[in-house]
């Protein structure tokens, strides 16, 4: 059955891209990490080109667009974070842009890095570490520990479980969305290789990718806001 073979090919292929001579495949670098490097290089070059020669007066259209974008995205993220946690805006914006670019990298023929659970797990780990660090930073260690037994002592196990549930939920949501979208796109391409995948690609690669990036960032911001209150 060729669909099963196709799915096998997509989902079970060897992700290792760089084979290291030691550790028997345990230390292989996956393709997702290499794609992330490529995305980072592209972002770096794009930023160097976009922010080159900024002036205070007589700004070019490029500079005006970059400034407007930065102000807009910062305002959006800042609104989600609230005033107290506004210092984390830059990191959240970075994650948002990285996720947006990653989720849409399928358009350029790459395999999206977010399709690898290791990448989403790393992102979720960073998020939960940031959330707890923000809690400790704003409330002090005592206040942070006390926040586990609020509003009642009975809910303490729930709060501790949330430490694991929050990042797992973040990780799985992003991973599942992207892998689902990719699988559906592959199936569609298998059914009809031209014309048909275009509108679906617009939905799955662009709209869904951006929405998931936004949701990831929104939830992270929500947790940070909750932690610092």
């Amino acid at each position: 059955m060729d669909i099963k073979e196709l799915l096998n090919e997509i989902l079970l292929k060897d992700k290792a891209f760089i084979h290291l001579p030691f550790g028997n495949g345990k230390y292989d670098i996956y393709e997702s990490v290499v794609v992330t490097w490529i995305i980072m290089a592209i972002v770096l070059v794009a930023l160097l080109i976009l922010t080159h020669g900024f002036k205070v007066h007589n700004i070019s259209k490029r500079q005006a667009a970059v400034e407007a974008f930065v102000v807009w995205v910062r305002k959006m993220v800042g609104d989600m974070l609230g005033e107290e946690a506004a210092g984390y805006t830059d990191y959240i914006v970075t994650v948002l842009i990285f996720l947006g670019v990653s989720n849409m990298s399928g358009l350029l023929g790459f395999i999206p890095p977010t399709m690898d659970i290791n990448v989403t797990a790393a992102l979720a780990l960073m998020s939960i570490v940031l959330v707890e660090a923000a809690g400790i930073h704003h409330k002090g260690t005592k206040g942070w520990l006390k926040s586990f037994i609020q509003p009642m002592v009975v809910v303490a196990p729930m709060n501790i479980m949330e430490l694991a549930i929050k990042p797992l939920s973040l990780c799985m949501r992003l991973f599942g969305n992207i892998i689902g979208a990719t699988v559906i796109m592959e199936l569609l391409k298998h059914v009809l290789p031209f014309a048909l995948p275009v509108p679906f690609s617009v939905y799955f690669d662009m709209f869904d990718g951006l929405i998931q990036a936004y949701v990831f960032v929104f939830l992270t911001s929500l947790y940070i806001k909750e932690a610092v209150e």
């Binding site: 096998n8 969305n177 949701v215």
Partner: protein
């Protein structure tokens, strides 16, 4: 007898909840926009967010199904 496909099918039933949730959210959002057309921007934002969150359950089911089938 191989029951893995059946397991995957049951896992995909999570889509039921997601569909119901998104349907209810959308109907409420429609009501809200009908009542307050000037707040449609905020309502749309909340709706998209809620839909993405509700969709997550379906996604979990999908991930579980794939895990059952391919692991």
């Amino acid at each position: 007898m191989d029951f893995t496909a059946l397991g995957a099918a049951i896992a995909v039933f999570t889509g039921l909840g997601a569909g119901l949730g998104i349907g209810m959210a959308t109907s409420k959002a429609t009501d809200a926009v009908a009542r307050q057309p000037e707040a449609d921007g905020k309502i749309l934002k909340l709706l998209v967010l809620g839909c993405a969150l509700a969709e997550a359950t379906a996604i979990y089911g999908f991930v579980i199904a794939i895990m059952i089938l391919f692991s």
